[in-house]
């Protein structure tokens, strides 16, 4: 019994454990539901999954199922990012516990009942619980906002701090996290309000299917704004998180944080004003430029730090020594690289599409345009996932060859897969339909191979964590002990502060 209790304590009461559970949940969802599309259909795996698990798949509901699947994964990824935030940003222990507990209950409820509703027949109790779960995630967001409140005195930075701050000491990084979380809650409301019209004037749709419809309803526009900005904010969150991980500071930090705050406000305003404003895209372009510049500052800082650390013992390092230092640790090099790579496969493609929309993309049939659209946001989502995994692998204490193999496989295989997916989606630029077999075969194989190896690497990592969890004094035990120590120290400091406050009150009253 003790064996289970201690492990459950670790899994549900520590940041590492909670993150491990959430990554396991995403992995299981991906492993099962990934068999329902793409090459898995061709190989007949879909039929086996459906039969084995007794799924009830009705053709007309496919889009609705996919939307619920996206939401369950999104909720889980949000939970992971929140766990990282509550661990790395100063806040009171009880705030951390409340936020983590609420969001865990929320995403698990949403994921379990959302998928049951979507794939195993329509029991509306499940749908209600899916909504309840999402509401809990939303409520956790409000708790997070309260905890992050950047104007609190205790979180102000001292004059001369290397971190971005205002004259009065307000921590601008904390403010950036706060603004991002606030924007996410406002954006979630857009999705929730539209969702409440479901079957009451609003019908399920995939945004990419409506791209050429000239007159979209307000509800459709609200959803389109919602989904774009939510993914952007998830990307902003992980950028801020890895910045914290890499101890991002100094002049670049001081430039980046105001840019990030303005960018998040601008992009969110633009994305949501799509509902009313015809020129909303202009606001989005300006806002996203600020975000991209902030991310660039991070990349410059992170890579410079890696080079400096790696060449610390060399008086005048040459180019190759610097390059070697930069590439020494793939887990720390990776987040920056994936952000750079994102520019070619996501931002670059998006800008190119916007510039050449009438001349190229709208001359293609809708289906070709749709492939490009779905491709670029799937790639963005998956690149974010690889960055999360890099950070978690570092937290898990992955060392030596395992660290290098895991890190490089994440980078190389994801880049092969997503680079190929970009080529696939843009293939009409290089080849006409009748001669496309070669490029289709090659890119499809590379996508499958890249993703396949990536998932195998993840599976091995997760199996290692599972094996470790079964050990009496595994890595998990060390993680848990370290976290308990940190928490106990924080709690003690909190109690001391509280005791001083209470003593001061007593003294004041007795006088």
């Amino acid at each position: 019994m003790q064996f289970i209790k201690v492990r459950l304590d670790y899994l549900f009461r520590s940041t590492r454990g909670l993150t491990l559970v959430a990554i396991a949940v995403v992995s299981i969802i991906t492993a099962i539901f990934g068999t329902l599309s793409g090459p898995m259909v061709e190989w007949g795996i879909k039929d086996i999954t459906v039969r084995l698990l007794g799924m009830k798949l009705i053709e007309t509901e496919r889009e609705g199922r996919i939307i619920m699947l996206y939401h369950t994964i999104a909720m889980t990824v949000l939970a992971i990012e929140v766990y990282f935030m509550t661990e790395m940003l100063p806040m009171k222990r009880h705030e951390q516990v409340m936020i983590n507990g609420t969001i865990t209950a929320g995403y698990l409820t949403a994921a379990i009942f959302g998928l049951l509703f979507a794939y195993w027949g329509h029991n509306f109790t499940y749908h209600g619980l899916f909504l309840a779960g999402q509401s809990l995630v939303f409520f956790a967001g409000i708790l997070l906002l309260a905890a992050l409140w950047p104007w609190k005195k205790e979180y102000r930075l001292e004059k001369g701090s290397p971190y971005a701050h205002t004259k009065s000491g307000i921590d601008l990084e904390r403010t950036a996290f706060f603004v991002m979380a606030l924007a996410a809650l406002v954006s979630a409301s857009f999705g929730a309000v539209t969702g409440s019209f479901w079957s009451n004037g609003h019908e399920t749709f995939l945004a990419e299917d409506l791209i050429r419809v000239p007159h979209k309803t307000y509800l459709q526009k609200a959803i389109i704004g919602h989904l774009h900005i939510m993914l952007t904010l998830v990307a902003v969150a992980i950028t801020l998180i890895v910045g914290r991980w890499m101890k991002f500071k100094g002049i670049l930090h001081k430039i980046a944080m105001p840019l990030m705050i303005i960018g998040v406000i601008g992009t969110t305003t633009g994305a949501l004003s799509v509902v009313w404003l015809e020129w909303a895209h202009t606001i989005i372009y300006v806002g996203s430029t600020f975000i991209m510049l902030a991310a660039l500052m991070y990349v410059i800082y992170a890579w410079d730090s890696l080079i400096r650390e790696g060449t610390a013992g060399i008086r005048k390092p040459n180019f190759f020594q610097k390059l070697g230092a930069l590439l020494k640790d793939p887990l720390k090099f990776g987040p920056g690289w994936q952000m750079v790579f994102m520019n070619f496969t996501v931002s670059g493609v998006g800008i190119f599409m916007a510039v050449k929309l009438e001349e190229i993309f709208r001359v293609w049939p809708h289906r070709e345009e749709r492939v490009t659209l779905t491709g670029h946001w799937h790639i963005l989502a998956a690149l974010i996932a690889t960055i999360i995994l890099m950070y978690f692998a570092d937290l898990s204490g992955l060392k030596g060859k395992a660290r290098k193999w895991f890190g490089w496989l994440l980078i190389i295989m994801s880049d092969i897969a997503f680079g190929s997916a970009t080529l696939f989606s843009m293939k009409r630029l290089f080849v006409d339909e009748i001669n496309q077999q070669g490029i289709v075969n090659t890119t499809m194989l590379l996508i499958d191979m890249g993703l396949g190896i990536l998932l195998i690497a993840l599976a091995i990592f997760m199996i290692w964590r599972l094996y470790d969890l079964l050990q009496k004094k595994g890595h998990w035990a060390l993680e848990y002990a370290a976290e308990r120590r940190v928490n106990a120290e924080a709690e003690l400091a909190d109690q001391k502060r509280k005791l001083e406050e209470l003593n001061a009150i007593l003294k004041e009253v007795s006088e």
């Binding site: 061709e42 929309l357 809708h366 339909e433 009748i434």
Partner: protein
């Protein structure tokens, strides 16, 4: 050693995939006769039917006829020869204009009177003038004899759907015989019928589920994919009618009104000219697309100048 083996395996796999794959234009398939008459028409009676993905009951208050199969290469060749002879169409270079983009292509072309233009966002003006009907680009299953000025369908492709035809070309064919392209509503009703099963309209012409031998789509493993690879090629019209061809068993995949190829094989142009856009809708999915695009409510769209080896049409009257 292990590392070298791993890299070698990767390289081999990649190179195998990069090996020149046969294009749809490079191989001629054997002639297959499915036994379905492309000249036949089906009657669709008046009445409401579940329209679109969300099954909105939509009235169609008139009876109409629609072709049982897509227009074939042979049929289109006959039209081209007849209209060439009476001067309705011409052969040569024709200018194609989409917004600010202008280019020329060689093919058969004819006059189109243009359309109302409202200048809505992304809308392109379709001006009156000569429009390309079929392009002479690779993929056309017709040959043109300069001396006799006649088109002939490549024999093995005679009963395959006519492709490489623009919306203008499809529209001209139907109008030449006093027919027209079906509207999206007419097309979908003919494709799925009026039946509701458990409250849902049919997602596929033949029923609720799709099997590989129901239709010609991406990686459906049909006879022609063995020759052309997973992307495949067109199949003769009415191929999926329950017959067995050289050991390949098909399922009878007719729609409730007896139409064939309403899912897969080639996308089909429809006739609607929607306000504030120049796009024309395509229905049915094709041999290039996944099964999800074969669901009867799914549409695709393209400018009327677009043509492709995976786009054809049928007429209604």
């Amino acid at each position: 050693m292990k590392r070298t083996s791993f890299i070698l395996i990767l390289l081999t796999l990649t190179l195998a995939a990069c090996a020149p794959a046969p294009s749809v234009g490079a191989i001629t398939p054997p002639y297959v006769d499915p036994g379905i008459d492309p000249e036949s028409w089906a009657v669709v009676p008046a009445g409401e039917f579940p329209y679109g993905q969300h099954d909105h009951m939509t009235p169609v208050d008139y009876e109409y006829e629609i072709m049982v199969t897509d227009v074939t290469n042979e049929q289109y060749a006959r039209f081209l020869n007849a209209s060439l002879a009476d001067g309705t169409i011409r052969i040569g270079e024709v200018e194609i204009e989409i917004g600010e983009k202008v280019w020329t292509e060689e093919g058969a072309y004819g006059f189109y009177p243009g359309e109302p233009f409202h200048g809505y966002e992304h809308e392109e003006e379709i001006k009156a003038g000569d429009k390309l009907y079929v392009s002479f680009e690779e993929g056309l299953r017709l040959t043109f004899d300069e001396q006799s000025k006649t088109f002939t369908a490549i024999p093995e492709y005679g009963n395959h759907p006519m492709t490489m035809v623009t919306w203008f070309g499809a529209n001209a064919y139907c109008q030449y015989y006093d027919w027209r392209l079906p509207t999206e509503i007419e097309w979908e009703k003919a494709g799925r019928g009026t039946e509701l099963v458990n409250g849902y309209g049919l997602p596929f012409p033949w029923g609720e589920h799709i099997e590989r031998n129901n239709a010609n789509y991406y990686s459906s493993s049909d006879l022609f994919e063995k020759m052309f690879g997973k992307l495949g090629n067109t199949t003769p019209v009415g191929f999926y009618n329950g017959r067995t061809y050289d050991g390949y068993v098909t399922l009878d995949s007719a729609s409730p009104y007896g139409l064939y190829d309403m899912a897969g094989n080639v996308w089909q142009w429809t006739g609607d000219d929607y306000p504030d856009q120049h796009y024309r809708m395509l229905r049915g999915g094709s041999f290039y697309t996944y099964a999800v695009d074969l669901r009867v409510w799914k549409n695709n769209s393209a400018g009327p100048q677009f043509y492709s080896p995976a786009v054809g049409f049928r007429c209604t009257r």
